[in-house]
């Protein structure tokens, strides 16, 4: 009682503090609920946007994982194909002859052109490949599945509507009737789109794939990782463990923090001036892309690494020094291993940031049409986000779904990298 007396005061005529508290209680609870609701609705709102993003991308893109194929019976005429020089044969002609056989009643020149366009321009190269691998088939009639043209593909996927007037769709009634005939005879089907995962870029949506861009991203990130991790860790260790605190180190610290906030396009301009114009390194190469992205991710890694080093308690250092370790031994034997998980987490997040970057690559020529899969650090190449950008800008309707599909792949990579970072933290993190 003495306690509450002390709080409430002892005079009788005066208002007790408890009453004031009780009077305001409902209001305070209300305020608390409102505050919590605000936080909760912020989260719900961002989740809603996130799911909207995912739903729209997946809804647009999932069809890209399927590709319409058309079955053709091609007679590999022994007179047409010279066994000594397989590349010289007119494979396009063979495909066209086969199409003519499938639709014998197409006579007009204009209509024939439309008929030839039912299959992808890549069909003749597929046939050539087939013949080169199966020389013994020359002279026989073979059955081959070739990719359909992107318009046919869009029709099969329902992206070209059949019920609108003829003038308003890209395929006329005659072309529809051909497709219907193929459907009726089972010569058209949708299969899993392996091309999308194995091919480089192409101007024909049905032949375009992301493997080239994925390889480019891989080489670029390898360069970035190999450079930025050791440099970043070394810089952090020196600043945290060895550097004296004076005006110079303060200046360096401020500058590193500033660099982390510099827009990435600036690093691209720097790369153009230094790596391309001064060192004359090749344009569009993953090597230069990696160098530029290294500059961009270094501040992130240094800041994360310093934070990791700071979280190692001083007692560890003192104990190591106390048993006679040198400063280098203390760092390499004790502090660094304990700080490494935090450093790795920072590095992975920096890498994920680099994976999604396009702006600095614009300046060094990595925004380019590249068909061949890059095979090394100096081959011209592009990266995943640039590929998305290029496809989004293409007029063909079928690139729309491929853009979304490529976004899904990129997001999958990013989610995986971030998940690895979280797992690493969970597994190796030590609390002191």
């Amino acid at each position: 009682m003495s306690n509450s007396d002390a709080i409430n005061g002892s005079g009788n005529g005066r208002v007790r503090t408890m009453d004031i508290v009780n009077k305001g209680l409902a209001k305070r609870y209300k305020r608390e609920r409102r505050f919590r609701m605000m936080g909760l609705s912020a989260i719900i709102l961002s989740l809603a946007f996130l799911s909207l993003l995912f739903i729209s991308i997946i809804a647009n893109g999932y069809t890209a994982f399927e590709q319409t194929m058309i079955q053709l019976d091609v007679h590999l005429d022994a007179q047409e194909i010279d066994k000594e020089n397989l590349a010289a044969a007119n494979y396009l002609g063979l495909i066209r002859t086969s199409l003519k056989k499938t639709f014998p009643d197409v006579k007009k020149r204009r209509d024939k052109r439309k008929m030839y366009n039912l299959v992808s321009p890549g069909a003749s190269f597929m046939l050539q490949d087939f013949v080169m691998r199966n020389r013994h088939e020359i002279g026989n009639t073979i059955t081959i599945w070739v990719p359909a043209d992107d318009d046919v593909d869009m029709l099969m996927k329902g992206n070209i509507k059949r019920d609108v007037p003829e003038s308003e769709r890209r395929m006329n009634d005659m072309q529809l009737s051909w497709v219907d005939k193929l459907i009726a005879s089972g010569q058209i089907k949708k299969v899993f789109n392996t091309t999308f995962f194995t091919a480089g870029d192409s101007r024909e949506p049905e032949l375009a794939g992301i493997w080239g861009a994925a390889c480019g991203s891989f080489y670029t990130l390898i360069v970035t990782l190999l450079l930025s991790f050791p440099i970043g860790v070394a810089a952090a260790v020196y600043l945290e463990e060895f550097a004296p605190t004076n005006r110079w180190t303060d200046l360096i610290e401020v500058n590193i923090n500033n660099l982390a906030a510099v827009p990435s396009i600036v690093f691209g301009l720097l790369g153009l001036a230094v790596f391309l114009n001064f060192f004359e390194l090749p344009r569009s190469a993953p090597l230069v892309g990696g160098l530029v992205l290294t500059l961009m991710t270094l501040p992130t890694i240094i800041i994360a690494s310093r934070a990791a080093l700071k979280s190692v308690p001083p007692s560890i250092r003192e104990a190591a020094l106390g048993v006679g370790a040198s400063k280098t031994q203390m760092v390499t034997h004790h502090v660094l291993p304990l700080a490494l998980p935090g450093m790795l987490t920072g590095t992975i997040i920096g890498m994920a940031q680099a994976l999604g970057e396009t702006a600095p690559l614009l300046m060094i020529g990595m925004v380019a049409f590249i068909v061949d899969i890059p095979g090394g650090f100096t081959d011209p190449s592009t990266v995943l986000p640039v590929q998305i950008f290029l496809w989004a800008d293409s007029p063909e309707r079928a690139f729309l779904e491929r853009t979304s599909a490529a976004i899904m792949i990129l997001l999958a990579f990013l989610v995986t990298m971030n998940a690895v970072a979280v797992l690493l933290r969970k597994k190796f993190e030590r609390r002191w």
């Binding site: 308003e168 890209r170 991790f229 344009r283 068909v371 007029p395």
Partner: protein, 354 residues
Amino acid sequence: MKKLLVAATALVFGLGLSNVSGAFAGSSRDYISIVGSSTVYPFATVVAEQFGKSTAFKTPKIESTGSGGGHKLFGAGVGVQHPDITNSSRRIKKSELEKAMKNGVKEIVEVKIGYDGIVVANSKKATAMKLTRKDLFLALAKDVPSGNVAGKTVPNPYKTWKDVNPALPDIKIEVLGPPPTSGTRDAFVELAMEGGAKKFAWIKALKKQDKKAYKALCHTIREDGAYIEAGENDNLIVQKLEANPNALGIFGFSFLDQNTDKVQGSFIDGVQPEFDAIADGSYPVSRPLFFYVKKAHVNTIPGIKEFLAEFTSEQAWGDEGYLTDKGLIPMPADERAKYQAAVKNLTPLTLGDL
């Protein structure tokens, strides 16, 4: 841990070495490097792909840098670190050619590849607009002639299409188009706006008296919100038109060709943008597309000759070539023959040609 550090240092040095080897690799490039216009890009890439698949050469690398950026890179000098070909959605400027020659790029071969129409389109949900170039100028210029007094202009007062021309519907002027960095914008301003401005006798006369004032008047687009810069992505403009039936959009013919179910081209001076109308020149807003080749590179970079032959073959740029499938409007046969000859003989461009 020590070993790890040593290994990391070794890797850094290893990469430093590969830097050097990279510079060496650059000194013998085995693929063609192409830069330039984003309008020519869709056509050049198709040819490059065909070329890469049907020959033993590597597929050329094509960067989309815009016409101006392309000429800048192209004219920077001779040598493997500079591009071999630049695409351009306009003819090379005299200043660009002079600069290139100063940098040692003495011989440049000009190749015209065909035409591209610029369309003013709206959603299929609305009726097609029947515009003239004069309407477009009055609707989009920053300053327009006032009354019938020669030389007098006022800031564009027109709010609706009906204000511009009583025959047009009473709809707010809202045009989505490319930003100033775009070659499409340059061509639109030059062909449509300037073409419309010339309908005023005094503006036409102004061209001779004061070229600067004339250009400023014809080429400046209003900035009060009626013209909306929609970025370089033409797909985005198509989507926005679909959502807003009252808006008009400006983009290349190939995007109209691919989206005929969503948008329709407006009549300009009584002609609708269709393949044949652009090809025979009756559609007024069309422009030639070019690419330029560095002659000094033809014998040092493998495949340039063959690439030129592929690009200028009838199966590519002919009346029924594969480029027409992508929306390129072919040149008449005699013009094609002229440029085929230029490519064969590698006739360089001189300052006098411009």
